[in-house]
């Protein structure tokens, strides 16, 4: 009886922990295997503890080059998609113009379309235009598919914004620029930030579209895929773990700052 009561009382916590485990376990495997010293070329079974990969993360040819390229593309794609997406979101919410309805639904097309179909069509388009496949074609493709996510995130925020806030700012001696910088932008910021983070994550680990539009250029996901055919260097796990750590640190810092702010104002 006591056991049943105990389970009943802690069921939510148990379910939560199990779900968390389910989510974190793959990341743990990546972390653990980054300290492995594999016998052959494949890093699939545990041998012994070793830190050589951590001491020399760029020890594999082309790995860090592809990582740098991926980060660069992700950064530019994020900036491009966030700026364009924010402008589109404001236009769709604030203004009534012809084809507004059509644009409103078309903007979601990249989200709904199977990625591989879109990738193939993009390649066809680029080839027909005679475009040189590489950095620019990847960037254009990434901005395109990130755009719909940014628009969705920013639009939700702008729609829930009270138009009276901007009127209040104008009433309190803020000109159009001041109103945008002091009131509109700070209030829309969480939506814009969410869209930007999403864009970065999507762009950084995109494989399918990149693979079609890259030509001979190799991004980090393509490098991982390519090396998986011939053997997986431990360095891949090191990069993976490092990315994971950076992301977790960002989230934790954000939470701490948020907590401190609410405590201060409470």
């Amino acid at each position: 009886m006591a056991a049943i009561t105990w389970i009943r009382r802690h069921l939510v916590v148990l379910a939560g922990l199990l779900t968390l485990g389910f989510l974190i376990l793959p990341n743990l495997v990546v972390l653990v295997f980054s300290f492995n010293k594999p016998k052959g070329r494949f890093n699939y079974s545990w041998q012994e503890f070793d830190t050589h990969a951590w001491q020399d993360p760029c020890g594999v040819a082309d790995l860090c080059g592809s990582l740098a390229l991926s980060l660069q593309i992700a950064l530019w794609a994020t900036i491009g998609a966030t700026v364009l997406g924010t402008l589109i979101a404001f236009a769709l919410v604030r203004y009534r113009f012809r084809a507004r309805g059509a644009i409103n639904s078309l903007i979601f097309l990249p989200m709904a379309m199977p990625e591989v179909v879109m990738a193939a069509s993009l390649l066809t388009l680029f080839l027909n235009m005679g475009a040189q496949l590489g950095f620019w074609t990847i960037l254009i493709a990434h901005i395109m598919f990130c755009l719909s996510f940014v628009v969705t995130a920013v639009k939700a925020r702008v729609m829930s914004m009270d138009p009276r806030l901007e009127e209040a700012a104008r009433d309190l001696y803020a000109g159009p620029v001041q109103t945008f910088v002091r009131v509109t932008l700070p209030i829309a910021a969480p939506g814009i930030a969410a869209g930007a983070l999403l864009a970065f994550a999507l762009s950084f680990d995109d494989f399918i579209i990149t693979n079609f539009t890259a030509g001979s250029t190799v991004t980090f996901p393509m490098f991982v895929w390519g090396s998986a055919q011939r053997g997986t260097p431990v360095q891949i796990n090191v990069i993976g773990t490092a990315m994971f750590a950076v992301a977790v640190t960002c989230v934790l810092v954000g939470m701490l700052l948020g907590n401190r702010r609410t405590q201060k104002s409470a």
Partner: protein, 389 residues
């Protein structure tokens, strides 16, 4: 025009606003005296908020001009007008704390040291200890006071209030009415207050403009509007009125003798806003609380010279301080009478024959060509108001 007394007045001349084929505000002229507490009163959709927004510059008038004193501000954007607004839902900036909300206007005008002024203003609205709070941490009444402080700190020529108490519960609303009145008296700035609550307008304002369907129906001091309505809308919207159809039988010495059915009533000619020729139709108005009730058996005790009508009690409801009677008279059905509960006459139950009598000086006369039910607040419109707020 350069008369000293009009130096800080708000003058609206021929100002109107149309949206496509819909006319929100018919061209109107209005002068709001400097330093007064002025109310624009009307049901929702009557154009009162549009008028306010045109003064603020948030809405461009289709026709007409807005003057602040001698300055024509019609073409100026809101951020260049010495006018500030307290918005209906307060519109406090959610990402700024109370201090920064109040300091917003000063900072935008490039004032360097705002600390002293913000502190004083927060003290004026009794929120000195909430400076570091965010708006969502405050109660409705507190948010409302922040909105007032944020506007007043700029020392505007005119403070515009758009249904500022609409979101508060009844008790808090009464408290804030007194509070706003106190602040207005203290700072001496012109307040223009938009409201649909006639009681709020009457308690707070020095002058009330009653608006209906994009027009100003009547303008005046609250007591004047109440005692002397010029239209059926004002008579019904401000409190309630009994309106009786009658015909002018004779006119002598400033008094009109009226015939309503087989009853005879008299009305001072000065209190009649309708044409006063013999045979003209008028609506005779009398406020429910001005009428006295006597049981038919006591009819002989009623003093001579009072207006009287006979009738039968149809319904009574006991309110506490007063009792409200509905009387059916042959002349007019459903007359309302409010009687203070000083000495209750137990005989005045439904079915009792009664005589209604009142001082003729309290009677007012309206043009019979108008809709007799204009401005009567029905349950439906009340519910719609509630939903809109």
């Amino acid at each position: 025009m350069t008369d000293d007394t009009t130096r800080g007045d708000v003058r609206l001349s021929g100002i109107g606003k149309t949206y496509g084929s819909f006319t929100a505000v018919h061209p109107l002229d209005l002068t709001i005296p400097e330093g007064s507490f002025f109310a624009l009163l009307g049901a929702s959709g009557c154009g009162k908020t549009t008028t306010l927004r045109m003064i603020a510059g948030l809405e461009d008038p289709t026709t007409g001009t807005v003057h602040l004193g001698e300055q024509d501000v019609t073409g100026l954007p809101p951020y260049k007008r010495p006018v500030n607004t307290v918005f209906q839902s307060y519109a406090l900036f959610p990402h700024l704390d109370i201090y920064e909300n109040v300091a917003f206007g000063l900072r935008r005008r490039g004032v360097k040291s705002v600390k002293k002024q913000v502190g004083e203003m927060l003290d004026l609205v009794q929120l000195g200890d909430k400076a570091k709070h965010k708006p969502h941490q405050l109660s409705g009444g507190q948010q409302q006071r922040v909105a007032v402080a944020r506007a007043l700190i700029n020392h505007p020529r005119v403070l515009l209030l758009d249904e500022p108490l609409g979101a508060l519960d009844l008790k808090l609303r009464r408290q804030m009415q007194l509070e706003l009145k106190r602040i207005q008296t203290e700072v001496g700035i012109t307040f223009v207050h938009v409201t649909h609550d006639q009681e709020e307008a009457m308690t707070m304002a020095d002058q009330v403009a009653v608006m209906n369907a994009g027009r100003v129906e009547q303008l005046g001091a609250p007591a004047d509007l109440y005692e002397n309505p010029q239209t059926t809308f004002v008579a019904n919207f401000l409190g309630s009125s009994n309106l009786i159809e009658a015909e002018i039988a004779a006119s002598s010495g400033g008094t009109l003798a009226l015939k309503a059915g087989d009853g005879k009533l008299s009305l001072p000619a000065a209190r009649c806003s309708a044409p006063t020729g013999t045979g003209d139709k008028v609506l005779v108005g009398i406020r429910p609380e001005k009428i006295s009730l006597a049981h038919a058996d006591d009819a002989r005790e009623i003093t001579e010279g009072r207006n009287r009508l006979t009738g039968r009690v149809a319904a009574t409801s006991f309110i506490g301080v007063s009792t409200q009677y509905v009387i059916d008279s042959p002349v007019c059905e459903g007359l309302e009478v409010y009687v203070q509960n000083v000495e209750r006459d137990g005989r005045l139950a439904p079915g009792a024959e009664v005589v209604l009598h009142w001082n003729p000086d309290h009677t007012f006369g309206l043009d019979a060509a108008q809709d007799i039910d204009a401005g009567v607040e029905t349950v439906e419109t009340d519910a719609a108001e509630g939903a809109a707020a």
